[in-house]
């Protein structure tokens, strides 16, 4: 199987080179046979990489411990689900996963893109093939997933306990799908630049791909937060870890693109900026991969250090130079059709929104790299942790939240004073009522108060948008409220799907603000001892340590600490937090013991219990108890965001098809083309 896998990798490599050389030589132009060959090569690469993937899975499932990868990431007693997910648990397997998924995306792009954009497709094939070939070359020359050992161990090392969580079966693939699919919009952008077809065609051709990438990244990031919360045991879901930051960066710039591309479609502006955003987003995805795999920055998420980091660094530099050089050579062809007319316009609001999103991305990148820069300049090592990121990014995030509410309220082109008054009055009142309510109940944390008040303002904006839309439909069509609401969304999926995403964003911010009020307490308890805590919502919790039981499970020895929890004098039942010592099939310990936290969640707050250890081998246990407010809303926000994203990209629904849209110069829409009919 390893021979087959290696052969498949080499075949994919050769096909990739063929596809790249043919695409960029331009010889396919005017030669339908060569053009077809370029596209068919992509399908063939997909086939080769699927064969390689099946070969790796076969090795994992059959416990072929002579394969270094299988021995390093599985053991005989590893549950089947984790044997399956071990495919992407390690450096080498995840590279293969990346390559095969990218090849499938590249094939899907060839199959699903309308024939109207056929002039772009060989270039798209060439760019995607170049990226795939890079990943395959890393595997062939630096990280071979089919490497054999000189001996065959009786059992493997097993999977890192922190990866033995259902979140790790779905979180990494989701994040990878986001990262990987960013290659497709990049390929379309490069294809447009190479072909000099710089109208909005490439944007229409790749619109769905940008939404798919953005959605996968968003879901992956939220699932990553959930995994960190339930598995790492430190009591939160976001620690500004470099790898977390690396996943956030392309999401931020892609979010900026999703807004600015609307201006290009409607007004023919920001063409250069949009190309830059697509290129930058792709580069950030490669940068994130470099950070994760190079070991250049310490992170709990990093893969084992290896020399693949150099490959990614070189690739990053080459792609940056080539793509920005290409953009520079087409600079003059990307002149805007019209100019911005007023600072008080929706276009300007979108521009400021872009500025903030890209600024936050820069800020996160800056903070991530600042320890390295500081050491280079001053020769002093520093730690850049949560307090730094919060101090720098929370104000920017709040500004962005405010703009989320402002953007939809301002008219395109230029807003009049009367228009502003009419649009802003209800949302501003909503924000002020929220502020008053917060002050009345005694909330004094500055940032949390501002965040929640702004959330009230944004909620007012969104409700007003839906209210006016429904009212207009009722007037025009005489529909009932539910029907008008449903049709309003169904007929304007992009716009109202976007508003649903805005709802998700404000839910996120409210939930994040809640963590400013978290309570945590450490306690050492003997069986029967209790400790009490008061939650931010005023509930009185009593935690009584019941004892510790030890037992064996499939691939671990479990020490479960049990706590009886009472809320306001009423028993909520028992909660357990565990220490797990994972063992191989010979019962040999494989990793350091890991923690499983106990969590009880409701709409208000989470009770979060960590069994931190035992005193001198007795049942006297050291605990950390957390009361984390509003955490449930983070996961619900993720669900709403996914819902809005899917709605936005769902096909059909609009009053006119997207392809019939033309770039319009200002509002001279009435008679454009009138004389040509």
């Amino acid at each position: 199987m390893t021979l087959l896998g290696q052969f498949a990798l080499w075949a994919a490599f050769a096909l990739g080179l063929w596809c790249v050389l043919l695409s960029f030589s331009g010889r396919w132009q005017g030669r339908p046979d060569l053009s077809a060959s370029v596209v068919r090569s992509i399908y063939a690469i997909s086939g080769c990489l699927l064969v390689a993937s099946l070969a790796l899975w076969k090795g994992l499932i059959s416990h072929d411990f002579n394969m270094e990868y299988v021995a390093a990431y599985t053991s005989r007693n590893l549950p089947n689900a984790y044997i399956f997910s071990a495919f992407w648990a390690g450096q080498k397997g995840s590279l293969l996963f990346w390559a095969v998924v990218l090849s499938l995306f590249a094939s899907a792009a060839q199959l699903l893109t309308s024939r109207r954009f056929a002039y772009l497709m060989p270039y798209v094939a060439g760019v995607t093939a170049a990226v795939i070939t890079f990943f395959v070359s890393v595997m062939i020359f630096a990280a071979d997933p089919f490497e054999r050992l000189a001996f065959t161990p009786a059992d493997g090392r097993g999977l890192n306990p922190q990866l033995q969580n259902v979140g790790m079966i779905i979180h990494p693939p989701m994040l990878y799908l986001g990262y990987i699919s960013l290659t497709i919009p990049f390929a379309f952008a490069m294809a447009a630049l190479l072909s000099r077809r710089l109208d909005t065609g490439w944007i229409h051709a790749m619109r769905k791909w940008t939404l798919v990438s953005w959605l996968f990244l968003a879901i992956g990031i939220t699932l990553g937060m959930w995994w960190a919360y339930v598995e790492l045991g430190w009591g939160g879901y976001w620690a500004w870890d470099p790898v977390e930051n690396a996943s956030l960066l392309p999401w931020l710039t892609m979010t900026a693109f999703l807004h600015s591309v609307m201006i290009q479609e409607k007004r023919g502006m920001l063409k250069r900026w949009n190309f830059s955003l697509v290129i930058g987003t792709f580069l950030l995805s490669i940068f994130g991969t470099f950070i994760t795999r190079s070991g250049v920055i310490a992170s709990v998420h990093s893969f084992t250090q290896s020399n693949v980091g150099y490959f990614f660094l070189a690739f990053l530099v080459i792609v940056a130079v080539l793509s920005f050089t290409l953009l520079y050579t087409r600079w003059d062809l990307l002149e805007a059709d019209v100019r911005l007319e007023s600072v008080v316009s929706r276009e300007a609001a979108f521009l400021f929104n872009n500025l903030l999103l890209v600024g936050i991305a820069f800020s996160v990148l800056w903070g991530t790299l600042f320890p390295i820069l500081s050491e280079l300049v001053r020769g002093t090592k520093i730690t850049v942790g949560v307090p730094f990121f919060n101090r720098v990014n929370v104000p920017l995030g709040l500004l962005l939240l405010g703009l989320t509410g402002v953007g939809p309220l301002i008219a395109w082109r230029k807003a009049s004073t009367a228009n502003l008054q009419r649009q802003f009055i209800a949302p501003v009142i909503s924000g002020l009522i929220t502020l008053g309510a917060l002050l009345a109940v005694g909330v004094r944390d500055f940032y949390a108060t501002v965040a929640l008040s702004l959330a009230g303002f944004v909620a007012g904006t969104i409700v007003q948008e839906f209210y006016r839309g429904v009212r207009a439909r009722r007037r025009m069509h005489g529909e009932s409220i539910p029907l008008a609401f449903g049709r309003l969304i169904g007929r304007n999926r992009r716009r109202y799907g976007g508003y649903i995403v805005h709802v998700a964003v404000l839910i996120y911010f409210v939930a994040f603000a809640g963590m400013a009020f978290k309570r945590e307490q450490e306690a050492t308890l003997k069986p029967g001892d209790s400790v009490e805590m008061t939650s931010p919502f005023g509930h009185r919790y009593r935690f009584t340590h019941m004892g510790i039981s030890q037992y064996e499970a499939l691939n671990r020895i479990v020490s479960a600490a049990t706590v009886e929890v009472a809320k306001d004098g009423k028993s909520l039942g028992l909660m357990t937090s565990e220490k797990r010592q994972h063992v191989d099939s010979f019962k040999r310990p494989t990793f350091e013991p890991s923690t499983e936290v106990g969590i009880r969640s409701n709409l208000q707050e989470d009770v979060y219990i960590v069994y931190a250890g035992s005193v001198d081998g007795t049942e006297e246990a050291v605990y950390r108890f957390n009361i984390n407010p509003l955490v449930w809303w983070v996961w619900f926000g993720g669900f709403v965001l996914a819902l809005g994203g899917v709605l936005t990209m769902w096909p059909g629904g609009g009053p006119t098809s997207s392809v019939s849209r033309q770039v319009q110069a200002g509002y001279e829409v009435t008679l454009v083309g009138a004389g040509k009919d």
């Binding site: 790492l232 409607k266 800056w366 850049v384 450490e522 020490s559 019962k587 007795t618």
Partner: protein
């Protein structure tokens, strides 16, 4: 007909042999090899309050000190970075990562400094002088480099925003001139065909979409 299982199956016999050999090799008792029925050490059973296998719950812990200034200690430790490479602060690490040997020691140092009568800032300064600036979760906002770290993103965004606003305002005059020279709008009451109105309706729908 019900057939009772054999006292010891071949598979179990093989497993017993392999496990015995493995256990003797790694020096673990047979009980830990999992061939005995799982035992429970709940309170009131077995050895009073003693874990059956303390080795599987990580490093032994010390009882948490009960102090009046617990919240203050927690706040100080949340500003100090653990040196184990976890990227967490001392408080979070020592209450989460029970395998870490650094954070408990750092905690003891904090308590010792506190007991010497030092306030929060003096304790942080003592850590910086002993371990360097990396002992802090965030660099001090002082000195050119650190201040650049804190202020650069915000300053760049503010400068870009101001530049953008200025740029748009200056463009405004140019756009006004272009608009003035453009085709004048149709006079009120001019004849507009149904086809043109339909085109207008579609175009406006596009804009609003």
């Amino acid at each position: 007909m019900h057939r009772s299982p054999p006292a010891l199956s071949r598979r179990h016999f093989l497993l017993l042999g392999v496990s015995s050999a493995a256990a003797s090799l790694v020096g673990q008792p047979l009980a830990a090899a999992g061939l005995q029925a799982p035992q429970d050490s709940l309170s009131g059973r077995g050895a009073a309050g003693t874990l059956r296998d303390p080795s599987v719950v990580g490093r032994p812990r010390q009882p948490t000190a009960i102090r009046g200034d617990e919240a203050e200690i927690q706040a100080i430790e949340q500003r100090l970075a653990c040196s184990c490479g976890c990227t967490l602060d001392v408080f979070t690490c020592r209450t989460t990562d029970f395998t870490c040997t650094y954070s408990p020691d750092l905690h003891r140092e904090v308590l010792a400094l506190r007991d010497e009568g030092k306030n929060a800032q003096e304790i942080l300064d003592a850590f910086v002088s002993k371990y360097g600036e990396k002992a802090l979760m965030a660099p001090k906002p002082e000195g050119v480099i650190n201040l650049t770290g804190y202020l650069l993103p915000g300053a760049l965004i503010a400068a870009a925003g101001a530049g953008l606003a200025l740029f748009i305002t200056r463009r405004k005059a140019a756009v006004a001139a272009v608009t003035a020279s453009a085709t004048p709008p149709l006079p009120m009451g001019a004849h507009v065909s149904a086809e043109e109105l339909e085109r207008l309706r579609r175009a406006l729908a596009d804009i609003e979409d």
